[in-house]
């Protein structure tokens, strides 16, 4: 039942925030903050009390499970379950959710209650995605979280230059993700009907559909249906068109959620559904996926170097980082998959940090255009120092969490795909370049305008220090993360191993 509450709390909190508007300006903020901290505390408590020993054989892999029939006609169930990976991501959602509330404390000044309603509903939908195990339910949450995100961008976003309006960006985001989601729905339904044809049983259950015997001609198409949906959200390069605009026009809280959590739902979807449902097809597809990952790394990094808008720059770096995650997921190596999880967490921290910082800059100098910045190091106390830390994290400096993740990914992938690793490593050099460009243009260089600006207040200190502490903590001691996800990564690596054994045997014969 605790899983249901994890989902319901943000939704109820959101409604409360909406109504709390009439009790004053601060009420919705505090309620939203309390709600997200509540989610965080519950997930941390689960983490502390849970037993994450490797699952033994047929033993249940879930830490907690909850199921009840929902639409008996099609065998749809409300089936929630949590394991190590979900737990990490739920905790991350709680933490970044609280940060998103905090960072909009000053930024959002009108229609506060409705803003927090949307914010919390996004987070509720995301938690739902991480917990749902019934494919219908998963799809439902997957699509549902888009609506409040749309409103967040469209109503509270920044108006950009002509042709880059916030409504346009929001619509683009929505159509990309919704259309690809429908492809996934078609794939899910095909899978269900195939399973129905074979067994005469209606079900959307994860475990049952994993056993579905998909005809060989169909399987690659179904796998692609899932892959495209996840690829749009991750984003993988040909499907990334929505991301820079959405990030640039979104309010800070929206960017934090988008980069920190929403992109992770895609990687989660691949790990939880994409690969286990279609192991053989995924293995066959792995070279293409890795290629796309490589293109993403290079493309994202190169385009990041050429951006004028600070939020667009960070958005493009996200594309680059997610390229690493994609490579790791399809490498089939346990080490690399664990690295992907670490990198997901690390990227959530570092990109959230950078987005929050750019939001704080915007509050002070009212621009995101880097050509009108420069020399801020001397004008703002403390914040540039924090920026340097997060930029260092983003480029994968040792002792930060990002380093651990990228190192594990590259190290783990090397045995299976050395060429990919070699090229991907070049992406690290590009990462250094765009990071330094960001630092140089914003904080160093010629002073664009004179006058001291306000330093961070207690709220900003708390956000920055907590993020920074986590980045360094995970960087120095990632073992808890690795322990908790060991079971999952091992089982996914196993899927690939079984497949590759088959090929080897085939070649011998």
């Amino acid at each position: 039942m605790i899983l249901v509450w994890l989902i319901l709390i943000p939704f109820l909190g959101g409604l409360l925030c909406w109504q709390a508007d009439r009790w004053g300006e601060q009420a919705p903020r505090w309620i939203a903050l309390a709600t997200m901290l509540f989610v965080l505390v519950i997930s941390l408590w689960l983490w502390a009390t849970g037993d994450f020993a490797l699952p033994q054989g047929a033993q249940n892999q879930w830490l907690l499970e909850w199921r009840t029939p929902w639409i008996p006609r099609f065998g749809v169930e409300v089936h929630l379950a949590i394991d190590g990976l979900s737990l990490i991501l739920v905790a991350l959602t709680g933490f970044l959710g609280a940060l998103a509330v905090l960072c909009s404390w000053r930024e959002i000044t009108h229609r506060i209650g409705f803003f927090h309603l949307n914010l919390l509903w996004i987070l509720g939908g995301v938690v739902g995605v991480f917990l749902a195990l019934d494919l219908f339910l998963f799809f439902l949450f997957w699509e549902m979280m888009l609506v409040p995100m749309y409103f967040l961008i469209a109503l509270w976003g920044h108006s950009g230059s002509p042709g880059h309006t916030r409504i346009r960006a929001a619509t683009r985001f929505f159509i990309y993700t919704q259309a690809s989601g429908l492809l996934m729905l078609v794939a899910i339904l095909s899978l269900v009907f195939i399973h129905f044809g074979n067994s005469g049983e209606w079900t959307f259950s994860y475990d049952a559909l994993r056993q579905a015997d998909v005809p060989e001609a169909m399987a690659p198409w179904l796998m692609l249906g899932f892959f495209v949906a996840f690829a749009v959200k991750l984003p993988v390069v040909p499907f990334h068109g929505w991301l820079p605009d959405a990030h640039a026009q979104a309010p800070t809280a929206g960017s934090v959620d988008l980069a920190g959590i929403l992109l992770k739902t895609a990687a989660y979807g691949m790990l939880r559904f994409g690969l286990p449902l279609f192991p053989e097809e995924s293995r066959a597809f792995a070279p293409v996926a890795m290629m796309l990952g490589l293109i993403g790394i290079i493309y994202g990094a190169v385009l990041a170097c050429g951006q004028q808008d600070i939020k667009r720059l960070i958005a493009y770096t996200s594309i680059s980082h997610m390229g690493f995650v994609l490579i790791a997921i399809y490498s089939g190596s346990e080490l690399a998959i664990q690295g992907a999880v670490v990198l997901m967490v690390a990227h959530a921290f570092s990109s959230a940090g950078l987005f929050i910082l750019s939001g704080q800059l915007y509050e002070r100098i009212h621009t995101r255009d880097m050509s009108t910045m420069g020399g801020l190091w001397g004008r703002i106390p403390v914040l540039p120092g924090f920026t340097l830390c997060f930029v260092a994290a983003s480029l994968g400096m040792p002792a930060t969490a990002n380093f651990v993740g990228e190192f594990m990914i590259l190290f783990g992938t090397f045995p299976t795909a050395p060429v990919v690793v070699v090229i991907a490593s070049a992406g690290l050099v590009l990462a250094a370049i765009y990071s330094l460009i960001l630092m140089q243009r914003v904080h160093f260089g010629p002073v664009y305008r004179q006058g001291a600006l306000a330093g961070p207040d207690w709220r900003e200190y708390i956000m920055m220090l907590s993020l920074l502490a986590l980045v360094i903590l995970v960087g120095l001691y990632p073992q808890p993360l690795l322990d908790i996800t060991a079971g999952l990564s091992a089982s996914i690596a196993e899927l690939f191993a079984e497949g590759s054994l088959g090929v080897v045997a085939g070649e011998v014969r």
Binding site: L140, F151, A179
Partner: protein, 479 residues
């Protein structure tokens, strides 16, 4: 022979028809708007209550087939008509001129729709279709002092007459080949493969009905008529009329195998694809809400044509579920337009600027509208998603990949304009608004109906199991 059992099976039809007579007599005796509306509503409610009595029908009266499909469609017809009556009362309050005749027309059309969904004979089909259409001309041109309303009525009259001609010609062709007009006999007479004349006849019937459903090459009247007609008449046209015609088309396909011949299926597939994409594309840059909803309803019936192509048991269920979700959604969307346009004051409030920032003036009404547009777009947790889910499931189950692709592409295009309207509701800038809802809209019955519809959209989306059971039960009783 007509027996008592037969009379029971057509009881709802008798009740609605006699209500129409009562309303007519009442109008002749003394005009009273409120009482007339009340009588009409009461008649519809009683008709609704007697519907369950008709099943299980041991035998149907001649020319009719009272089965699960008919009862299901009848229920939907009566509910939609009831909502229309409620909204009409709200709307007509400010109308200068006779108000009561509107209900008379509405009841006659409802009776036509009830007969149409149960018709089992081509003659019956034709008569009831005309009974449904004739009053609609009057309803559409009801506020005849407004130029657009008159134009809408006349346009619908002319094109409807053309469609009727197609329909009759198709029936004539089938009659010449078989010598029968009732569906069972037509089917029975055709043990051998249908020849070109039969197919032509079937195709002409599809075209005739396609006019009423505004399937794409025959859709040209739709936006003008939707825009011009008074809002309640538009609601009736978009819900009851379309629903009844669609059900009868489904009945034809289910009953007569030559409707599911390869050639005709290809034809309908092409029409369906054109309708889905055409409806959505034409709606893209529409700034008039009633026209936009008109195009949107074209697209929705394009999706639903998948059921006609598939033409199997699941198709009946899909039709039922989709029609329910479509009705609830469309009633809510048009209902908001009606409320904003009420009481009647010249042209309806259908320009998008009127709705700009509605949320900050009328949060609950805007929430109703948002929910209905989310449902039209097929977003999960709303009724529309369940409908779309069924259509895609049907397409996948039947292996109609082109149609599935069309539904996906159509939905993606559709999002653009649904989102555009939705976000307009929340934009704060003061628009050039000419009208607004009355302050007490929420406590009026029309407002309460809107809230109930919005709640229904959400409940059906969150917990659709009872609806599915009901539809499944009734479609099991379909012959």
């Amino acid at each position: 022979m007509l027996t008592t059992a037969h009379l029971v099976t057509v009881l709802p039809l008798i009740i609605v028809a006699s209500t129409a007579v009562i309303v007519m007599l009442g109008v002749a005796w003394q005009r009273n708007h409120a009482v007339t509306a009340l009588v009409a509503a009461a008649g519809l409610v009683i008709g609704l209550l007697t519907l369950p009595l008709t099943l299980p029908a041991a035998s149907s009266p001649p020319l009719m087939q009272v089965d699960g499909l008919a009862v299901m469609a009848g229920t939907l017809v009566l509910v939609s008509a009831l909502v229309t009556v409620i909204l009409s009362h709200h709307y007509l309050t400010g109308y200068i001129g006779p108000k009561e005749e509107f209900y008379l027309l509405l009841l006659c059309a409802t009776a036509g729709a009830l007969a149409l969904v149960a018709s089992d004979h081509l003659a019956m089909l034709f008569i009831s279709l005309e009974l449904l259409s004739m009053p609609l001309y009057g309803m559409l041109a009801y506020s005849f002092r407004a130029e657009r309303s008159l134009e809408a009525g006349i346009k619908y009259l002319l094109l409807s007459a053309a469609a009727t001609a197609f329909l009759l010609f198709g029936m004539a062709l089938i009659y010449t080949r078989t010598g029968y007009l009732d569906l069972a006999a037509v089917t029975g007479a055709l043990v051998q493969a249908p020849d070109a004349w039969m197919l032509a006849g079937a195709a002409l019937i599809v075209v005739g009905l396609g006019f009423k459903l505004s399937v794409v090459p025959f859709h040209l009247w739709t936006p003008d008529v939707y825009q011009g007609g008074p809002a309640p008449a538009t609601i009736f046209l978009a819900t009851v009329s379309k629903l009844a015609v669609f059900v009868v088309l489904l009945r034809l396909v289910l009953a007569a195998p030559f409707f599911s011949s390869e050639w005709l299926q290809t034809l309908i597939t092409v029409l369906a694809l054109l309708t889905m994409l055409g409806g959505n594309l034409l709606a893209l840059f529409q700034a008039n809400l009633k026209r936009l909803l008109g195009y949107s309803s074209i697209a929705h019936f394009g999706y639903l044509l998948v059921a006609i192509v598939a033409g199997n048991a699941l198709a009946t269920e899909t039709t039922g579920v989709y029609l329910i979700t479509y009705l609830v959604t469309t009633l809510a969307a048009f209902g908001v337009v009606t409320l904003v346009s009420s009481p009647f004051g010249g042209e309806d409030a259908d320009g998008l600027p009127v709705y700009r920032g509605l949320f900050w003036r009328r949060p609950y009404l805007a929430a109703v509208m948002t929910v209905s547009f989310l449902s039209l777009a097929g977003i999960p947790l709303t009724a529309g998603f369940i409908g779309k889910f069924y259509v895609i499931a049907l397409g996948v189950a039947d292996g109609r990949w082109w149609l599935v692709g069309g539904v996906v592409a159509g939905s993606a295009i559709g999002l653009y304009y649904y989102l555009r309207v939705m976000v307009t509701l929340y934009l704060p800038e003061p628009g050039m608004r000419r009208r607004d809802v009355t302050n007490d809209w929420g406590s009026r019955i029309g407002g309460l109906t809107m809230m109930a519809l919005a709640a229904a959209i959400l409940v059906l989306g969150v917990y659709p199991a009872p609806m599915i059971d009901w539809v499944q039960g009734l479609s099991g009783l379909t012959n």
